[in-house]
Amino acid sequence: MVVLEVFTKNIKISYKSTLLSKASVLALIFGVLSLVLPFIFAYKSKGLWLKRDTFYEQPDVKFRGEYIFVATTNNYNKSVITCSNLPHFDNVLRPLDTCSVIKVRETDRNFDGKTEELDLSLQVNLPVNTHLTSFCIIIPFNYKLQVCPLEMQTAIIFQELLPFYISKYSLVANVVVTQTSPLICHRKNTNTLFNYPVIVDNGDLNNYDINTIITNFSKRNISTSLRDVYKSFSPGKTQNFVLNLNIEFPEDRIYYKPGFWQVLKWAWIHTIFLAGD
């Protein structure tokens, strides 16, 4: 028969010594060292206190129903096309608007109340013998986090140069968050520092300029960007340029400044347990 070791037990060996002896002094020195050294190691290896931490969360994303599309063409009579459905936009730039249909679907695949996928299809009518030479689309959306309460308005910004006749342009991409500094979390207070619109819609022509929008957008500490961008296009001469966007909102990694108790928790693990035995 196979003999198995089913139980093991440590033997406790105790060494005893009188108070004033070499052994006691040595034990004291090593005891102090084993208590102090972990602190030194912890301090030398990127500090004792936890300075930043990350969490993973799928953001709650809601399409705001707005978009702005700016394109240039090779046609001198109609060299720029700008489309938007912003309320004040029409007053300013309606003559340049030739987009006819925008079709949007937000898909919640696992029925958890959060949008996983945004399908957007935009149809632009072009004059005869015209093709787009470049375009830029900006789709603002609301972005919400729960673990570290945050609400902001951010946008999908995509720019492309088109070298030749293209009838259909498809884009598949993921939206990820980009941060320049860790978030500061308060469990009760929602961070609404960036909860202002990406496009200021007040009828001022300058505010609909892509340059202005992007410059303002890039100043944010936390914003979103497209990642894993895959493009496909079908060349051809048509009077309808169709832009298909398929945007995924995956679970994202966000780093933040940990709170007091969390810092203490890690300090505890780093030091007390390290020093304990």
Binding site: V101, I102, R105, N125, N129, G236, K237, T238
Partner: protein, 930 residues
């Protein structure tokens, strides 16, 4: 007398659960033994160790015994006690040892035990100490009755005894006298010492093999010494065919030692450039070298000494490197090792294929055997066959791939509908695919390959009957496949031709095929029955200085024979809506239904107006929610064939321009504006019949049934169309040159609220819960007037889908409510009640109800009121009269609660122990007492 000396000590006690132990011992001897000197019993001191858990006693024993026989050889039995902190002593173990019978020094271990009580005893023992003791200590060394004793093991008491025997040989007891007075240590060490000397190997007979470092072994035998050469050179000039067995020899490849190898020497008898170790290079040659090529030898630099090959003056040298680093290996004591690696050539193809598994492979192309014609019946996905010029081919169509121009051909497959368009860039009358003839002439479609009987007629293709090889009869249609005309195949009107106009640098072509539609009527497995072909021809002008493109659309529909498919039979999901499917609508129409009047004798049948749902099966826009189609100029078009369906789940924002005109003869300004607004409504597919929109209903589910009104839902409006039409205003200017219209809505907002619901076991089916239509963007327009009113208005239409699914909860059915009542005489056990209080409410007849109501109408308490109402519900379902007397009315409104009659005001009694009443009536009906 033989004598025994026992000299020694009780050394220590170990492995006891506690310290502070002492021990009582007693030497037990037989009757014929006599103690000459020394004590027969004793008790050790109490030892409490400071270090460790071993109690050292070191109690001396020195006994001199004399005996006349061996019976009753001395045994030492002992009792170990524990002294606790209160000064109580508890038994901690019994044990005995027999004094060794051999002379010498012995180290003995005495394993002790103690009796073992019940759980309760042990519990008490644990906390309070004490325990069982043996009443009769003889039991320790007597062999009888011990099976009843249950014991637990305690610690070990060690003895060190020296036994000296004397005069035993006089009594016939023999022992090795040489061992007398010799110290023996009773331990296993002596055995080990013995074992080392015993196996002496005889080396004379066995031939041994000695192996040397270069791994060639020589068998050394005394008789004949044969040395096997380490390598066998197979140098054979083979001119004859090699026998297959040749390759099964183990051919030892000559592996030269790495010392002489030169890695960069890649040409024989030729000096390789910059290869310093090449023996073909002379010293002079090496002068031309720029550098020496790197050597790829691996050196084990962990060792203190190793040989390194380096180049000095472009000549290779071996250098013995001695490094005296702190951590270099002077000498390795690792066992001799060698590297196991694969160097044998593979022996068979199977081996090679086995090794190939999970390795990289170029895929092998597979050829579909499309060329081989088989006579099996069509099944789903099989290519459709045609007979053209007496050969059987697959029916193919051109398709775009990546770019929009027609670049690939694809088979038309049985029962797979196709709708594809691509553009031709080669425009000429000779382009095969732009000619109408291509699609029907000299071509028959094989109804079913199984019908072709090859074996009977050799010339079967020529004699193909009409029901097997179906002829295609083309029809020429105008745009949208309307007004189709059957034409004969030889009609010249469909001939395409192109004309070049050099002056204008243009090409004018007529009758190019723009749309092709095949309708295949099939009967499932028995194949095709009828083929219809619809063609749309178009003339176009192309310019040579531009790229020429002509877009062609091909459509293939497979339709079940004898089944007509109309729009009304299309569902958008079963049962719930599927994403991307259109939304079902229907119109409410009132129709006159004849009523058979049975009473009247006259023949005139009267009609009753009845509401019914109606969907025009031939018109998509009357079956599904649509928005106008936006053509490439951005103009709204809405017709039977041009529309944008609202697809479930897709939010749409559509903007287009309407470009329409109206006759305005003899119309007031307001009416003109109303007409304009009506035109806008028309483009939103809002049919205005009787000025109201509420005749339209929307299906709750994708499979709504037209005859079930419950499947349909009326949409909600902010304003009815009539209001919007009435709200418009219009005025002509003074010269009747312009018209100003106000309050014209140009934006339709449709919101559809849907949720996922479960149908028994089909889960998450989309159901529309509400639809709202709102109108917005009211604008004022100024139109220029002519005979007609030409107007351009920019329209908008928004569709929004809102998912309003809430979290599903499973709720349990309410448990059955049990009405448990106390016996009727529970509180008044001594009051006699008629009929023994059996309540028969269920079997109340009208008389008794009358009686209850008559009586309880004046009784003043809540119960009365309640029962009165109950009466009313029996008698007068529409309502309940107020109590007759004013006193009763007041009391019914403000009942006074009581526990006994003393709680109630004077002359009032507590009835039924809860409400104060004027009188407690004698029960008029069994069960009610007041």
């Amino acid at each position: 007398m033989a004598e025994v000396h026992i000299i020694g000590q009780i050394t220590e006690a170990k492995d006891f659960p506690k310290e502070n132990l002492f021990c009582k011992w007693y030497l037990q001897v037989g009757n014929n033994w006599k103690v000459i000197s020394g004590k027969k019993e004793g008790q050790t001191q109490v030892t409490s160790p400071q270090f460790g858990k071993v109690c050292k006693w070191s109690y001396p024993i020195d006994i001199h015994l004399a005996t006349a026989g061996l019976q009753g050889w001395p045994k030492i039995y002992l009792q170990v006690y524990h002294l606790d902190w209160l000064g109580r002593s508890h038994i901690f173990g019994y044990g005995f040892i027999t004094v060794p019978t051999t002379p010498g020094t012995h180290i003995l271990d005495c394993y002790t035990w103690r009796p073992f009580g019940t759980i309760k005893d042990r519990f008490v023992q644990y906390f309070l100490g004490g325990g069982y003791q043996i009443k009769n200590p003889d039991l320790i060394f007597s062999s009888g009755e011990r099976y009843k004793l249950s014991t637990e093991a305690m610690g070990v008491v060690s003895f060190e005894l020296c036994v000296v025997l004397r005069n035993f040989s006089n009594y016939g007891v023999e022992y090795d006298t040489s061992l007398e007075n010799v110290t023996t240590i009773q331990s296993s060490e002596t055995n080990v010492k013995k074992g080392t000397t015993s196996p002496i190997l005889s080396t004379t007979a066995v031939p041994t093999t000695t192996c040397k470092a270069n791994s060639s072994c020589f068998a050394n035998s005394t008789n004949n010494s044969v040395t096997v050469p380490p390598t066998q050179q197979t140098t054979a000039l083979v001119t004859t065919p090699i026998p297959a067995s040749f390759f099964h020899f183990d051919i030892k490849t000559s592996e030269r030692s790495s010392k002489n190898l030169c890695i960069c020497d890649l040409t024989i008898d030729y000096c390789d450039l910059n290869c310093c170790c090449d023996k073909d290079c002379s010293l002079e040659n090496k002068l031309v070298f720029d550098h020496c090529e790197e050597d790829f030898r691996q050196y084990d630099t962990r060792y203190c000494q190793y040989v390194k090959h380096i180049y000095v003056n472009k000549t290779p040298h071996e250098f013995q490197i001695n490094q005296n680093g702190l951590f270099c290996i002077v000498r390795s004591n690792l066992p001799a090792s060698y590297i196991v690696q694969r160097k044998q050539p593979l022996k068979s193809l199977q081996d090679a294929q086995f090794e190939r598994q999970n390795k990289f492979n170029w895929p092998k192309p597979t050829h579909e055997d499309s060329q081989i014609f088989n006579y099996f019946n069509y099944t789903y996905g099989k290519p459709l066959l045609i007979l053209r010029n007496n050969t059987i081919e697959n029916l193919q169509f051109l398709k775009s791939f990546v770019v929009t121009s027609c670049v690939v051909k694809e088979d038309i497959k049985y029962l797979i509908d196709v709708k594809s368009s691509c553009s031709h860039t080669n425009i000429s009358a000779d382009n095969y695919y732009l000619k109408a003839d291509t699609f029907f002439r000299n071509m028959t479609i094989i109804a079913n390959p199984g019908l072709l009987n090859v074996s009977k007629h050799k010339n079967f293709l020529k004699n193909c009957t009409k029901d097997v090889c179906l002829n295609v009869r083309p029809k020429i249609c105008n745009e949208d496949f309307e007004d189709c005309v059957q034409i004969s195949p030889n009609d010249t009107r469909i001939k395409s031709s192109c004309k070049v106009n050099i002056a204008n640098n243009e090409l004018f072509c007529i009758n190019l095929v723009q749309n092709v539609r095949y309708n295949f009527y099939h009967n499932g497995s028995s194949g095709l029955i009828k083929v219809e072909l619809y063609l749309i021809l178009k003339s176009a002008t192309f310019y040579y200085h531009q790229e020429m493109e002509f877009s062609q659309t091909i459509e293939v529909n497979f339709i079940w024979w004898n089944h007509t498919l109309n729009y009304s039979s299309h569902l958008s999901g079963n049962p719930g809506y599927l994403v991307g499917k259109p939304i079902l609508i229907a119109n409410i129409v009132s129709i006159n239904v004849p009523i058979n009047n049975t009473n009247s004798t006259s023949n005139a049948t009267s009609y009753k107006q009845q509401l019914q749902l109606y969907r025009n099966p031939s018109d998509f826009t009357e079956n599904f929610l649509v928005l106008p189609f936006v053509n490439s100029e951005g103009v709204c078009v809405l017709s039977k064939h041009k529309y944008t369906p609202v697809e479930f789940g897709y939010n749409v924002y559509l903007r287009c321009e309407i470009n329409d005109y109206l006759w305005i003869k003899n119309l007031s300004a307001k009416n003109v504006c109303i007409a304009v607004q009506n035109t806008i409504f028309k483009y939103w597919a809002l049919k205005v019949t009787n000025g109201t929109l509420s005749n339209r209903v929307i299906a709750l589910f994708g499979n709504a049934y037209i005859y079930n009104i419950g499947d349909w839902l009326r949409p909600m409006f902010e304003n009815d169309l009539k209001d919007i039409l009435n709200r418009t205003w219009g005025e002509f200017d003074r010269q009747n040159k312009t018209l100003k219209c106000g309050n014209i809505t140009t934006l339709l907002i449709t919101e559809i609220f849907h949720a996922r619901v479960d149908f028994d076991d089909i889960i998450n089916q989309e159901k529309i819960l509400a639809t709202t239509f709102q109108f917005d963007n009211f604008q004022n327009f100024t139109f220029a007037l002519n005979h007609t009113l030409q107007f351009y208005i920019k329209l908008g239409a928004q569709v929004m889908f809102h998912d309003i699914t809430t979290k599903k909860m499973r709720k349990l059915v309410d448990p059955p409510s049990l009405k448990i009542r106390l016996p009727h005489d529970f509180f008044y056990p001594f009051v006699k009640i008629d009929n023994h209080g059996v309540r028969q409410a269920l079997f109340m007849n009208n008389n008794s109800i009358d009686r209850i109501c008559k009586n309880c109408g004046d009784i003043v308490n809540r119960y009365c009121c309640r029962y009165q109402k109950r009466c009313c519900e029996y008698l007068n379902p529409s309502g309940c009269p107020t109590p007759a007397s004013p006193e009763a009315r007041i009391s019914c409104r403000t009942p006074q609660f009581c526990r006994s009659s003393t709680d109630c005001p004077m002359f009032k009694q507590c009835c039924d122990t809860s409400i104060c009443g004027a009188t407690c009536m004698k029960p008029t009906f069994s069960g009610y007492r007041y």
